[in-house]
Amino acid sequence: MKLIGRAEDRLQIELAPREKDLLMQLLRLYPRIPSSYQPLSKAAEPEQSGQRLLDEALSEARSQNKNALQLLLADRKRLGQQGDHWRLHLTGGEVEWLLQVLNDIRVGSWIHLGSPELPLKVLNAQTAPDVWAMEIAGSFQMNLLEMLES
């Protein structure tokens, strides 16, 4: 995955076929963080209405992200094949949004593993899918961050 062009706010990203396939497989996992997972406060008696509103807002945001993700990935003008490679066209805002989606997959996979200390000491058939998703999402995140800062 590499940045091959930037014009104003638009980024042109090139993906090798294997990277494109990995990204597609990974994004199918979204959303990964369980709903009502994040508390608004650690206080013994948190404000209930605030917590409910937060849960609703996060749930709504994830639902919108999922729809937007499906539209983006189905749009051949945004993600299309060019020769042996794939080209992904995103605005800076969409890169930010994709970072959020990838981090949801990374953190959600870590939660599925039982929120362990990292690096994980035991890798087996049971933990491998979540470890895979966590690591691949992290790798794409770091690539995108580098692109934004380059």
Binding site: Q38, L54, A57, L58, L99, R106, V107, M134, M142, L145
Partner: protein, 102 residues
């Protein structure tokens, strides 16, 4: 003509309501980010810059505080603003909460 009933006002009741409203508007809520082993340091710095509009140096300072001390107080705000910031940070999957200032 029936008289309009005058509501009985208990001593101190208005004051209590006023105090409650005032306390929600005052910057008495702390926005805290907690350490976790999963969020990348670069990503946390980036999110702080985006959510608070901070320069990179300030964002890195708070990220390191989270990493080294387990948490960092990012803002001291009214209830509404603190909720807004926590929501933004949680949208990015950071471990953030708001706590009433002691």
């Amino acid at each position: 003509m029936a008289e309009t009933a005058t509501p009985e006002i208990l001593p101190g009741a208005g004051q209590e309501l006023e105090t409650e409203v005032k306390s929600e508007l005052e910057p008495g809520y702390l926005v805290i980010c907690w350490n976790d082993p999963v969020n990348y340091m670069d990503y946390v710095t980036h999110v702080f810059q985006r959510v608070f509009g901070w320069p990179r140096k300030k964002a890195e300072f708070h990220m390191l505080q989270v990493h080294e001390q387990g948490k960092s107080v990012l803002a001291r705000e009214s209830l509404e603003k603190a909720e807004h910031y926590v929501h933004q940070l949680q949208k990015h999957s950071l471990h953030a909460t708001m706590e009433r200032e002691e």
